[in-house]
């Protein structure tokens, strides 16, 4: 969106700070990775472009001073989720190399819906938050801060989540275990 419209804020968009420039650049890389991840005709490449996008998001977390989240992102997403996805591709015998039918016939509808969503969301977000400013002087997401709040205020959900994970684990095992032929 054009910054010209948003000039009413106390700090203009035409004089970005260093953090903002970095954020912008990394954000572009992230967005590019995401776009490639959803458009690539090579399935494995798509998964790898996802790594770029997720890694970019981790960097953005860092820029937002949420370093714990950033590391968790790297560990879980880049480290395990992507590996799982790659395994999934492999187990479903995804073809190596470009597969021309990676996109369904629904593509143009999907594009229209996505563009409409993007337009709506961006319009709303920009309209609502063009004057909001994030002070990054005090880090807000160090391990200490996050850990303190997590174990002080969010213990119960945290533990519940561990149960959820356990259930998911069991469920995944049950689902993927090969059943014996009953008949």
């Amino acid at each position: 969106m054009s910054g010209l419209v948003l000039l009413g804020a106390e700090r203009g968009f035409l004089s970005p700070t260093g953090v903002e420039i970095t954020f912008l650049l990394v954000g572009l890389v992230t967005l590019g990775g995401a776009v490639l991840a959803v458009t690539s005709r090579q399935l494995v490449h798509a998964a790898l472009w996802l790594v770029v996008a997720l890694g970019g998001i981790a960097v953005l977390y860092l820029l937002l001073t949420a370093e714990f989240i950033a590391w968790v992102q790297v560990l879980i997403y880049v480290g395990s989720v992507v590996v799982l996805l790659l395994f999934g591709l492999m187990l479903t015998k995804a073809p190596i190399g470009p597969s021309p039918d990676a996109d369904s016939g629904n593509r143009w509808v999907a594009l229209a819906v996505a563009l409409a969503t993007a337009a709506t969301l961006v319009t709303v977000v920009v309209d609502a938050f063009r004057t909001a400013w994030i002070e990054l002087d005090v880090p807000q997401g160090t391990t200490e801060i996050v850990g303190r709040s997590l174990f002080r205020h969010w213990v119960l959900p945290f533990e519940a989540l561990s149960l959820l994970l356990l259930a998911a684990l069991v469920g995944a095992i049950v689902l993927s275990r090969r059943k014996k032929e009953r008949r």
Binding site: S104, N106, V109, A110, A112, V113, A116, T117, T120, T123, V124
Partner: protein
């Protein structure tokens, strides 16, 4: 018990008998016969007792009793359960009781092997109750109730052998044709009651005949003609007579009771009761006279050409009812009732004898009977009683038919030659001429019937007779003795004792009732019923001529032709139309049935092609929409999700646009 109580019991007993008979029918078959016969006999005895106690006379001599049955919303016009017992009513009731008793007794023998005897007997009892109600009733609505109950009983009884198509269609025809007359009849009753201000017959007639009051109906012709339509339907008068010959598809005793002696006479009886209403309109009387004349002559010609015994008798019934209507058209109800009584007796006798004859011959066809010799020996009682009945029918003195018919003719002559106020001369002449012509024809067909049925001695008889006997189920004409022959025991089986006893019981009034004319005139407190010289000589002479000519023709036919039927020679070109009832059914078919069918087809076409087109059109659009909606169900989750999200976006944009 007072006379009124006895009179109440007369219709009530057969009604209770009918209910009990219907209830007992399946469970206690042993009670069916007593339950059928005993109440009827008791009702007959009570009717006689009532008649004796009433002692004749009309007007002031009548016994009236009434109790309010139901209010009608108009306080001045209540429906009463009212009895009016005058000389006519009590005597007709005696006739009804007599014939019903005879028929019930006869049926015990005639239908002894019939599976549906219980319901049959109960329906006959119910019919008897309804007829007695009609006879005694003084209230037009109560009379109408009895009238319609008779109609429905007639429907059921004509359709007794409902396994045959002829019986089914005959019962439907009888019901529908009589109903065709009953609708105007009902309208006429209501119109009459609203003009007269009461449903009571006696009140109406008193007001109309009273010299003191100036009461006059404002539309006597309309009312009389409306009532006449119902009478024509019930009494089988032209043009609504066509149901009666077909109704012979019913069992013979039913024909005797309902379609000869009683129900068909009910129409004429109602006219007799309401005669002041009719005499109030000269036009109605002329219409009645013309109707009677057409009916008489036409039915007599048709009777002469029929092949089936019962159809001959049916047409003869129509003709005799024409005499009754003619007597009423000249305003003489004593003569009408006299002939009603004697005709009821001898016609019931004829039918019952014909039942025996058909059973003996195994067929109802006269041609077949003519080839069969020895019927006389096989059913001697039927032979003798039928001979008496036919002599009475042909009005040969001194049988009852002679006196009663002479009474009618004398009344007509009286009306024609000495004009009386209120009675059109034209009606008198019409009735007189038609009556004399019919006397000739009646004698002719009675003779023919007798000769063909009993004097069968054709040259081929010896060879033909055995084959006729070996084939009991010989197809017969639509009159329908076929099912009876089947329901009966084998042809040739002798009639049972009660059947013969009944025949002789009925032969007595047929023989001698006419001699009571002097006493009857007193009883009715009416004009003399004695035969006058002119009409007697004329009528009897004509009857003898008819009989002799028929005999001569029969001799000639037997001598030269293969068929002994004298009719073709007698009627000449008229034979074929007369045989088909003058094609009236075909004419009705062309005039009414075909247009209605065509209209129905048109409506059907309009309904299917026009109305339904809109309905189908209305269904097409939703159908297309449904097809589209089905197209959307691709089964692809991504499509669904796309649509869902697109919808969400549209909603969001709509909300934003509304908020902006």
């Amino acid at each position: 018990m007072s006379t009124t109580t006895l009179a109440v019991l007369v219709p009530l007993l057969p009604f209770l008998g009918a209910c009990a008979g219907l209830a007992a029918g399946r469970r206690a078959p042993g009670f069916v016969r007593p339950l059928a016969v005993l109440p009827t006999v008791a009702a007959f005895a009570l009717a006689v007792l009532v008649a004796v106690r009433q002692g004749g006379g009309v007007g002031p001599d009548a016994i009236n009793a009434a109790t309010e049955l139901t209010p009608t919303g108009n306080a001045l016009l209540p429906i009463d359960l009212a009895f009016h017992l005058d000389g006519f009513a009590v005597l007709v009731a005696v006739l009804v009781g007599l014939v019903a008793t005879c028929v019930q007794l006869y049926s015990t023998g005639y239908l002894r092997d019939d599976r549906r005897y219980p319901s049959y007997a109960a329906l006959v009892s119910l019919f008897t109750a309804a007829m007695l109600l009609v006879v005694y009733s003084d209230d037009l609505i109560v009379l109408l109730v009895g009238w319609e109950v008779m109609g429905i009983c007639s429907y059921f009884l004509v359709g007794h052998y409902w396994e045959t198509a002829a019986a089914r269609s005959a019962s439907l025809k009888a019901f529908l044709v009589t109903k065709l007359g009953d609708v105007p009849f009902l309208i006429g009753i209501l119109a009459l009651a609203s003009e007269a201000g009461t449903f009571r017959i006696s009140t109406i007639t008193t007001r109309l005949t009273s010299q003191l009051s100036d009461f006059e109906l404002s539309h006597p012709t309309v009312i009389a003609l409306l009532l006449l339509a119902g009478v024509a339907g019930k009494s089988a008068q032209f043009p609504l007579h066509s149901w009666l010959p077909d109704a012979m598809a019913g069992p013979t005793p039913v024909s005797a009771l309902i379609h000869a002696a009683t129900m068909v006479a009910a129409g004429v009886y109602v006219v007799a009761r309401l005669l002041p209403v009719f005499t109030a309109s000269a036009a109605a009387l002329v219409v009645l006279a013309v109707m009677a004349a057409l009916t008489m002559v036409g039915s007599a010609l048709a009777a002469l050409a029929q092949d089936d015994v019962k159809r001959v008798l049916a047409y003869s019934t129509i003709g005799q009812l024409g005499y009754l209507a003619g007597a009423l058209a000249v305003g003489n109800r004593s003569a009408a009732t006299f002939h009603l009584l004697s005709h009821g007796a001898f016609k019931a006798l004829l039918f019952l004898a014909a039942g025996v004859l058909i059973a003996a011959a195994g067929t109802g066809s006269l041609t077949a009977m003519a080839r069969t010799s020895g019927l006389r020996g096989r059913a001697p009682d039927a032979f003798w009683t039928m001979t008496i009945g036919l002599l009475a029918l042909a009005a040969i003195p001194p049988f009852s038919g002679f006196f009663s018919k002479e009474a009618v003719l004398a009344a007509a002559e009286h009306a024609a030659l000495d004009p009386v106020a209120g009675i059109p001369v034209a009606a008198g002449w019409i009735v007189l001429v038609a009556g004399l012509a019919t006397a000739l024809l009646t004698a002719a067909y009675a003779t023919r019937l007798w000769l063909l049925a009993w004097a069968g001695r054709s040259p081929a008889a010896a060879t033909v007779a055995p084959t006729e006997l070996d084939v009991p189920d010989t197809p017969v004409t639509a009159g329908g003795a076929g099912p009876e022959a089947r329901a009966q025991t084998h042809p040739g089986t002798a009639a049972t004792t009660p059947m013969n006893a009944v025949l002789w019981l009925l032969a007595v009034p047929s023989l001698a009732f006419g001699l009571l004319y002097g006493w009857l005139a007193d009883w009715f407190a009416g004009p003399s019923l004695a035969p006058t010289l002119t009409t007697s000589v004329l009528g009897t002479g004509l009857a003898l001529i008819g009989a002799l000519v028929t005999y001569a023709a029969w001799r000639q036919a037997t001598a030269v032709g293969r068929t002994p039927d004298p009719t073709p020679a007698l009627l000449g070109p008229l034979h074929q139309p007369a045989r088909a009832g003058f094609h009236l059914d075909a004419a009705y078919d062309r005039m009414f049935v075909a247009p209605v069918r065509g209209g129905a087809r048109l409506v059907d076409f309009l309904d299917r092609e026009v109305v339904d087109a809109y309905v189908r059109g209305a269904a097409t659009l939703p159908g297309w929409l449904g097809t589209l909606a089905r197209r959307a169900q691709t089964g692809n989750a991504q499509t669904y999700l796309s649509v869902l999200l697109a919808g969400a976006v549209v909603l969001a944009v709509a909300v934003l646009a509304a908020g902006a």
